[in-house]
Symmetry: C2
Subunit: 287 residues, 2 copies
């Protein structure tokens, strides 16, 4: 581990190996916390404001008072990235209700744990350059998936079920509906229009998903933010996933059968390119 | 904190303040782990074998290989309790998939984190001596509640919603069915018979619940292990919750209205007494 690795924890910047938490941290004993993953390109965070806005919504969703607040936090993150983040990396941020004698009841005077650190990533490849095979898994998660909490055990189990089946990602399905991937949103192209399931009980409001929805009108692509059925997904002209670290990736298989013609379609490619342009604009040119 | 406080962590017994975990422990970042709470009376654990058996089922449920296995673990726990546990206390045990660079994918070579420690509790009061007021909450949890995982955020939020409403415990209800409390099982007495919802997607197989079900035939109380409807619960002669730390407690209110006549009924009292006798037999007389 390089000595350059640092962790910001409760206002202090410490070496990676010193960043340890108490066994009674509520994040460890109750998954009582939230998190964000922010992609860093050219040493600059992409869509940091949107990530912190979502962090604020998640905090509200679990009744957690963030300290410092997101405005101060944004400055701390910016300063940390400038000093400690590799040019291509991700920032992982986590906030928990902190250490307290174990009890479901909220502590009377919570001392939240807030930490973030950067991890190197390979430079991004060609936009939409890697394809994705999905395994559909029954959605057995809780009904507040719009909160980005660390209660991710169901996501972890689904992801590993997909990998064990030779797929790349699990997609959560419930009855007729397709919700999202284990660590991604899913979108479909039907008759040239983008169908984007909105944030809700079983769908997280993805930042990359949100960026695409915002970009579409400029590209003359109509967007329908509404639930997606499995039948629609299977018959879609194009199917794609979005995530902070994967950006836009075409789905080429669903439970071992080709979807979207088994290749990356033109709308997906265009969206991936335009997203990358926006990333370059925000992270390179704004330097 | 008394210097006597010790934590067993990965085979070592360390001081409480030295027991710290890595920020990339999968228990902290993914709730990728399981736990048990064992009650200690007279310096002896109650129903330790049943707790460890359930730990084994939970581990299997998330594909976690426990190290050491439950046989060795039982010996370690017994030795630890003898040396370090207060006479009246609880043992908290947690096993996670351990530290690894953050990734939903299971680590190729997991190094699980296993820890346990004892915490003092007040000596138990009169059997069934404290009453419980429930607040009903829609069950929005995941569908593998038979796994005792630390993905407890929904339980934590429900419990605090109940406390905020002036109740003592939340009870999860879905459609016509009553599942369980946020940290307890719920049982009803109808026409002298005990109705005990069995372990399943939304019910944990409680150890205290299991002990009661086992005791009933000897007491001439018929048991029906089957789902319980809200209608039945509200009209029950008696309603009770069970948990390791609360043992048996009569439910006297449901959403602010009296249930079970608003007092502890005779079957509940009898069950609480007989459970306590069994505890005394196992923990005191077997010394």
């Amino acid at each position: 581990m390089s000595p350059d690795k640092r962790v910001w924890i409760n206002g202090e910047v410490v070496g990676r190996d010193e960043a340890r938490i108490d066994i009674e941290d509520r994040g460890f004993q109750f998954a009582d916390g939230i998190y964000e993953v922010v992609r860093i390109y050219h040493g600059r965070p992409f869509a940091l404001a949107a990530h912190l806005q979502r962090l604020g919504r998640s905090a509200e969703g679990i009744g957690l008072a963030l300290r410092p607040d997101v405005t101060v936090l944004a400055r701390e993150i910016e300063a940390f990235i400038t000093r400690h983040a590799p040019a291509d990396s991700m920032l992982y941020l986590q906030a928990t209700r902190g250490p307290a004698p174990r009890n479901h009841q909220f502590p009377a005077q919570p001392a939240p744990t807030l930490l973030f650190y950067a991890k190197p990533l390979p430079p991004p490849g060609e936009p939409a350059g890697s394809t994705v095979r999905l395994l559909s898994v029954k959605d057995e998660r809780w009904s507040r998936c719009w909160i980005k909490s660390m209660a991710l055990l169901a996501n972890v189990l689904a992801k590993n079920q997909a990998l064990a089946a030779g797929a790349d990602e699990a997609v959560f399905v419930d009855g007729p509906l397709v919700h999202e991937g284990s660590a991604s949103n899913i979108l479909a192209v039907r008759e040239g229009r983008l169908i984007a399931p909105p944030a809700g009980p079983r769908v997280l409001g993805g930042i990359t998903r949100g960026a695409l929805v915002e970009l579409c009108p400029r590209l003359g692509i109509e967007v329908a933010e509404r639930p997606l059925t499995e039948q629609e997904a299977l018959a879609a002209e194009e199917l794609l996933i979005t995530s902070t670290t994967r950006e836009v990736a075409p789905v080429v298989a669903w439970d071992g059968r080709p979807v979207g013609g088994g290749v990356c379609g033109p709308v997906t490619r265009r969206l991936a390119q335009v997203l990358r342009e926006r990333i370059e604009h925000e992270c390179r040119e704004a330097r």
